[in-house]
């Protein structure tokens, strides 16, 4: 990502800083959330013995984290990555919550 030149308008520099901050949060926190939800989802829904499902989820989770982190900085528009990450995490999170506390607890 090219650094803004020191002669850039203050508005542009602020926008750039916000963009970086947004992507960083997405990568660091969003990535972890996606990974954690993936681990939980595998553990709960993989049709194999519980202990195996939990272990599989753990092993796979770091790949999910890395992918989100890379995409957070690779895609041209940060909003896109926020959208797709949320599209993954929110339904998954809701489903997990319901599965654990609501229907079929």
């Amino acid at each position: 990502m090219p650094r803004p030149t020191s002669t850039g308008a203050p508005g542009a520099r602020l926008a750039h800083a916000l963009d970086v901050a947004s992507r960083t949060i997405l990568a660091a926190a969003g990535g972890y959330v996606a990974a954690a939800l993936t681990a939980a989802g595998f553990a709960r829904w993989l049709p194999i013995p519980r202990v195996e499902a939990v272990m599989t989820g753990m092993l796979v989770s770091f790949a999910v984290y890395a992918v989100v982190a890379i995409f957070a900085f690779a895609v041209a528009r940060a909003a896109r990555v926020w959208f797709w990450t949320s599209a993954y995490c929110v339904p998954l999170g809701v489903a997990l919550y319901l599965s654990m506390h609501g229907a079929g607890a």
Binding site: A40, R44, I48, V54, L59, S61
Partner: protein, 515 residues
């Protein structure tokens, strides 16, 4: 984000590489050293003699504890790995915690005799530093190292994406061309051992996955204990019967274990409620017996020596985890492969170091005023010197402290570690106070001198110095001292190279002044 994916990945790679780069350097250095932790421990306990003999060690430990700890709550025996000699054993009295284990710890040498060696944690301390760091609560350290590992994983992926000429430049090496050379060095050490770097980083995260990603456990189990029982076997301690029974010979149980494991060696022996009629003996397969590092636990009736039924074999996921950890730790590796692990670790260390130096090297060209760089640049520059030269020197001090500290120092192992950081601290001061180029030369020279001093101190304080070891064919001790000399040579070479570097900036300014 404008600039295209290569540019954004280059930006990302620089930041995730730089932010925790110095921590990653420490992780690589200690991890690389840890591949030879058994050899390092042997060197740091020259009083321990004899060759590797598991049965003698086990019998010696059991005999000692039957005499001195007959009423203990639990006996623990760590058998020597393939490249180790000493058996470590300790017992736990009723009401004690594991934190007090060292109060009752003792060593048994290769002849089965209890030996009073200097109090040290040897190479194991460096191995633990690799993920527990030091002076920090262990959980915090592991979170920090885990974050660094995640940064490293992202650095690897972004590095590969951004290195567009990764194939075109695969065989290209340019020496002596300033910033270009640093980049080539960084690319070479990164790309040559790329499979290793990727493997080591991902498997490193997996080793502590239970801490980093416990959410699967929470989602599928009522409590963690239930998960651990499923995954690693429940730890049901048998109840005391009150009546005593002598333990059957341990050698017989070890023999049965080896037969069950088709020759694989045992690594640990646990005896809960020793001496009791209901007692059991648990024998765990050595972590180095196969690529899958998690060893099976076999349980024997203590009084009769009869083996209980084998636990069920782990499923594919657990076996995968076991293999991943095994690949990371490399305990299964025979000697040639172990040296390859070590070289890859050195490559990784060089990759981190060249990356850090590359950052300053590149930006030095872009400094508006080379005599007064901005704060961030000065910070990175000084931290580079302090870490890249300082940590190796600290490790040399650790080894020297092992030889030079008096035997009866209280908390001797802690003092050995303290000296690592004292030595490192001294070079940090030099790194900050001296002009940059001189700081590099001086710190690297001191580090080289430190490693040179280790075999000398060894010769002066023990009867297992380099020449004696070579004469006797004691390859572990000889190799250690020779490695110290090799490291001294490497650091000295670096110092010499920096000393001879022409000051590009100065020359340019002189020309401007003349013009």
């Amino acid at each position: 984000m404008n600039g295209g994916i290569r540019q954004s990945m280059a930006w990302l790679h620089t930041w995730v590489g730089l932010l925790l780069g110095w921590l990653l350097f420490l992780v690589f250095v200690t991890g690389t050293a840890a591949y030879f932790q058994d050899e390092i421990t042997r060197w740091m306990q020259p009083e321990v003699r004899g060759q590797h003999d598991i049965d003698a060690g086990a019998e010696g430990a059991v005999a000692y504890m039957q005499k001195h700890a007959a009423n203990a709550e639990q006996w623990s025996i760590e058998l020597p790995g393939e490249r180790a000699v000493a058996t470590t054993a300790f017992w736990k009295e009723k009401g004690e915690t594991f934190a007090q284990w060292r109060d009752h710890a003792f060593l048994v040498d290769g002849h089965g005799q209890k030996v009073d060696a200097r109090d040290t944690l040897g190479g194991w301390r460096l191995y633990r530093m690799h993920f527990d760091l030091y002076y920090l609560p262990v959980l915090w350290a592991r979170w920090l190292v885990g974050l660094a590992a995640m940064f490293m994983l992202v650095a690897i992926i972004s590095g590969v994406i951004t290195h567009k000429k990764i194939f075109a430049d695969f065989f290209t090496l340019r020496f002596g061309k300033g910033q270009r050379s640093w980049l080539d060095g960084h690319n070479l050490t990164a790309v040559l051992a790329l499979p290793f770097h990727f493997m080591i980083t991902y498997t490193g995260l997996v080793t502590l996955a239970a801490q980093y990603m416990p959410w699967g456990v929470s989602a599928a189990y009522e409590n963690r204990a239930a998960y651990y029982a499923d995954a690693f076997g429940a730890d049901e301690a048998p109840k005391r019967s009150g009546s005593n029974a002598t333990m059957a010979p341990i050698a017989g149980m070890l023999k049965q274990a080896r037969e069950t494991w088709h020759g694989a060696e045992p690594g640990y022996i646990f005896v809960p409620i020793p001496g009791d009629a209901h007692g059991v003996v648990k024998i765990i397969r050595s972590t180095g017996a196969g690529m899958a590092t998690r060893g099976e636990t076999l349980t024997f009736d203590a009084a009769t020596g009869v083996m209980h039924a084998r636990p069920p074999a782990p499923g594919a996921a657990r076996e995968t985890e076991s293999v991943m950890i095994g690949l990371h730790a490399g305990r299964y590796a025979p000697v040639l492969l172990r040296w390859f692990y070590f070289l890859c670790g050195l490559a990784g260390t060089a990759m981190v170091a060249t990356g850090l130096v590359l950052w300053t090297s590149k930006r030095r060209m872009q400094l508006p005023d080379p005599e007064r760089p901005y704060f961030g640049f000065r910070l990175v520059e000084r931290m580079n010197i302090a870490t890249i030269a300082g940590l190796p020197f600290g490790i040399a001090c650790y080894f020297m402290a092992n030889r030079l500290l008096p035997m009866d120092v209280v908390q001797r192992p802690n003092w050995e570690a303290n000296w690592l950081f004292i030595g490192w601290g001294v070079l940090c001061v030099v790194a900050i106070v001296r002009p940059v180029k001189r700081a590099w030369v001086e710190t690297l020279s001191v580090a080289a001198a430190g490693f040179l001093a280790v075999p000398v101190v060894d010769m002066m304080t023990t009867d297992r110095g380099l020449f004696v070891s070579l004469w006797r064919g004691d390859m572990v001790f000889a190799s250690f001292d020779l490695m110290m000399l090799a490291l001294a040579g490497l650091l000295g070479f670096c110092a010499w190279k920096v000393h001879n570097r022409k000051d590009v900036v100065r020359v340019r300014r002189k020309k401007e002044a003349v013009a």
